[in-house]
């Protein structure tokens, strides 16, 4: 690799359950102004931002070419703008390539999603499926995740009690995160008594509908000090796609995450993630995914997710101190939320939830039915 990519600044609005009063342009604009103020970056054709990467979704925005509606508020008037149409975490991978290729010095990376705008988030994810074999049956991300939950919990000895523990902890952690969605504190009994959505997934096991926007500024190693005294380095990225049809794959296998994380570790030169990485932010859309992804990135032993929870693995490895996706981030933006938490922790700016001595952190996110696609980013101080 020719050089390191710097993450110089992040901005976000608070995760909200229904930002009905704000257009997504407003939400982005808040973040945009914050990045400008923090970094004093310009849009000069020579020295400034020439290319902007955005992350949004046509279905959630109910707009064809959703990035078309935000050109002005992300500063793309007469500059380049490219939309990451997958999980936002992949936008970080792509931003790395723009910078490492030599094509761009500075990249602004912004994203938005208002899950509350649509009538049903599940209806949107039904459209992920082909119109012939899957869509008419009513498949959506939730009921497909339920299949994965059943398969994984059986394989790894994860129980209802374990899931309850994960949810209670997520809510507690979110209290210390001022940008986290405001959720009610719950105890384990409440979790276990919450209504089933799609067996074995209960209402409190599943991430709530959320609106959010963010911004990040990335640049070359040489230019980082122009924008911040304290850059964070993105040193590894890896992704992997699994099969599409549910029946074609072993739902509990972590095939794509194992590949994605080992590719990211290779790029970042990490041999033993347990020892070398101090903090993990995993995109747990549903509670079962937290131990499952922990196995996938190699901090829990294969097939031992249940025991890992009991042995205090979540705290031992500093997993999801932000509250995680489970506390509420919009679909496709969970990865950006994870990366932003890693950034804050690495900079020592995570407030009440700050962990001492975080040198390397990992952000993970997935998209697609039963987490068909996985990606992992490694960040360093």
């Amino acid at each position: 690799m020719s050089n390191r990519v710097a993450l110089c600044a992040v901005a976000q609005i608070k995760n909200e359950n229904d930002a009905w009063h704000a257009r997504f342009q407003n939400m982005l604009h808040e973040c945009f102004e914050s990045i400008m103020t923090q970094t004093k970056v310009s849009f000069d054709m020579d020295k400034g931002i020439r290319n902007i990467i955005t992350c949004s979704d046509d279905m959630f925005d109910a707009r064809t070419i959703s990035n078309n509606g935000i050109t002005d508020v992300v500063g793309a008037q007469f500059r380049g703008e490219e939309k990451m149409s997958q999980e936002s975490i992949n936008g970080l991978g792509y931003a790395m390539s723009c910078i490492m290729s030599g094509h761009d010095d500075v990249i602004l990376f912004m994203g938005h999603c208002k899950e509350s705008q649509g009538e049903s988030r599940r209806m949107v994810t039904n459209l992920t499926f082909d119109p012939f074999y899957c869509r008419p049956i009513g498949m959506d991300h939730l009921n497909v995740s339920a299949m994965q939950a059943r398969a994984y919990m059986k394989k790894s000895g994860v129980s209802e009690e374990h899931l309850a523990k994960i949810v209670v902890r997520s809510r507690k952690n979110s209290k210390k995160n001022p940008n986290a969605r405001d959720n009610k504190m719950v105890d384990e009994k409440e979790v276990m008594n919450s209504p089933l959505l799609a067996d074995p997934i209960r209402e409190l096991h599943y991430y709530p509908v959320t609106d959010w926007a963010y911004g990040m500024l990335l640049c070359t190693e040489e230019r980082a000090r122009e924008f911040t005294d304290n850059p964070i380095w993105i040193t590894g990225y890896g992704s992997c796609m699994d099969s599409y049809f549910l029946g074609d794959k072993d739902l509990a296998s972590n095939f794509s995450l194992k590949n994605a994380s080992s590719r990211a570790y290779k790029m970042a030169g990490i041999k033993d993630p347990k020892k070398e990485i101090n903090l993990f932010e995993l995109s747990d859309q549903s509670a079962y995914q937290l131990p499952m992804w922990a196995e996938g990135v190699g901090i829990a032993d294969e097939g031992k997710g249940g025991k890992w929870i009991e042995d205090g693995g979540m705290d031992k490895y500093n997993v999801n101190l932000s509250g995680g996706m489970l506390n509420g981030n919009p679909l496709l933006l969970g990865g950006a939320a994870r990366a932003i938490e890693c950034f804050l922790q690495l900079r020592g700016e995570a407030g009440e939830r700050q962990v001492k001595g975080v040198k390397k952190a990992l952000a993970q996110a997935s998209y697609g039915p039963a987490a068909q696609h996985q990606a992992v980013v490694i960040m360093e101080k």
Partner: protein, 399 residues
């Protein structure tokens, strides 16, 4: 330093296209994509296992599939591989090429496959495009991608007869090219003798934009494989090098609200071309380039845009068209493939421009190969609200 040296050179080593047509009932989306994937792999002499990463793009709402790359894995070969999905509206095909170039040049991947496709037959294109407009300000006024404003501008500037004739002349030239391209969707066999008739009889869509002047809606896919220099030289006898690319967007809604004839808003095409040529030290683009594959969604736009892309003055662009200098064999052949006006599977369209420009450099364009050597090619993408992507392709690594 404004624009750094590319970390490593990137070459096109494989090209595959489906035939473009209005209907593809015989295949579903991943099956149609697979045709182009297979063709590109065959062209490159590679198997799927050789590909490190896939970049996929189209417009979700045109077929109403959310995150379509998940389902399309059945045809793209993405299983087990790294993959990106990057979209920018009509420019998406060109953006796929830019993204593949960046991904390879970065050193993160050695071989990247860019996949653009659209099955417009399955959706409702004009409805889909109308949904681009802001629901509060503009959606009730939008007429899809159809607009008569460029015709109005050109008639005002050059007079009705000359402007209308230039537009139809351009259209006939494109058709003459399309007839030579077996992949083209629409190839009517138009003759120059029909020019006056067509000006008079072709039904009007919006203002002076006539049916014959508008691009088609097509089904089809295009795949281009990119590799870093060493790999490209090893695998391909004739790699085509990506020299540079530039993307320029523009906010449209509020620009139109403030439209003022005396203070015209700068064109993204002109702005993109100016900046691209400046940083690559191209003084006379009309002399430098040997062929231009332009995203020409309608002939009025196309004629006008020639002026922007080549930084021309006054009526120089009209003369190029009127004197047939844009034909195969002319001074600046434009769209030997027949262009977008002949075939427009939107998500693939701009990538087809890159693919066709590369085929011209390779000398592999068959019947629509231009007769003189092609060393330098330009390809454009158009989309969104006057967005531009421009890409420079080179035969030799000598810039």
């Amino acid at each position: 330093m404004s624009h750094r040296k590319k970390n490593r050179n990137v070459g096109i080593i494989g090209i595959g296209q489906t035939r473009f047509s209005s209907h593809r009932e015989d295949v579903n989306q991943p099956e149609m994509i697979h045709e182009a994937v297979s063709a590109a792999l065959k062209d490159a002499g590679l198997a799927m296992k050789d590909i490190d990463c896939i970049v996929h793009g189209n417009m979700e709402l045109f077929e109403m599939v959310h995150q379509p790359d998940c389902w399309h894995t059945l045809g793209t070969g993405a299983y087990g591989k790294e993959s990106f999905r990057i979209t920018t509206g009509g420019t998406v095909g060109a953006t796929l090429s830019c993204a593949a170039d960046n991904l390879v040049a970065s050193g993160m991947y050695d071989i990247v496959m860019a996949i653009g496709f659209e099955k417009l037959q399955e959706g409702h294109t004009t409805g889909g495009i109308t949904n681009m407009a802001d629901p509060l300000w503009f959606r009730n006024l939008q007429t899809g991608a159809l607009t008569g404003s460029k015709a109005y501008d050109m008639i005002s500037e050059f007079g009705e007869e000359r402007a209308k004739k230039a537009s139809v002349m351009y259209r006939i030239i494109m058709d003459k090219h399309a007839v030579k391209n077996p992949m083209a969707h629409r190839a009517f066999g138009l003759e120059f003798e029909q020019l006056d008739d067509l000006v008079r009889t072709s039904p009007k869509l919006v203002g002076d934009l006539k049916l014959i002047e508008m691009c088609s809606q097509s089904d089809g896919a295009c795949v281009v494989i990119f590799a870093e220099e060493k790999t490209a030289k090893k695998i391909s006898k004739k790699p085509v090098w990506i020299r540079d690319h530039i993307t320029v967007h523009r906010e449209e809604t509020f620009i139109l609200f403030g439209y003022d004839e005396k203070h015209p808003v700068p064109m993204t095409h002109r702005f993109a071309a100016e900046n691209l040529y400046k940083r690559n030290n191209i003084k006379e683009p009309l002399e430098y380039f040997d062929v231009f594959e332009m995203y020409d969604p309608a002939s009025w736009w196309a004629v006008d845009w020639i002026r922007d892309f080549f930084q021309l003055k006054d009526d120089e662009h009209l003369k190029l068209v009127e004197n047939k200098e844009i034909m195969i064999g002319g001074k600046m052949p434009i769209n030997p493939s027949g262009g977008v006006i002949a075939s427009n599977p939107i998500g693939a369209t701009a990538l087809v421009r890159i693919a066709e420009a590369a085929l011209q450099i390779r000398g592999d364009a068959g019947d629509h190969q231009i007769p003189t050597e092609v060393k330098h090619a330009l390809a454009s993408g158009f989309g969104g609200t006057m967005w531009t992507v421009l890409t420079m392709l080179e035969k030799d690594l000598n810039w």
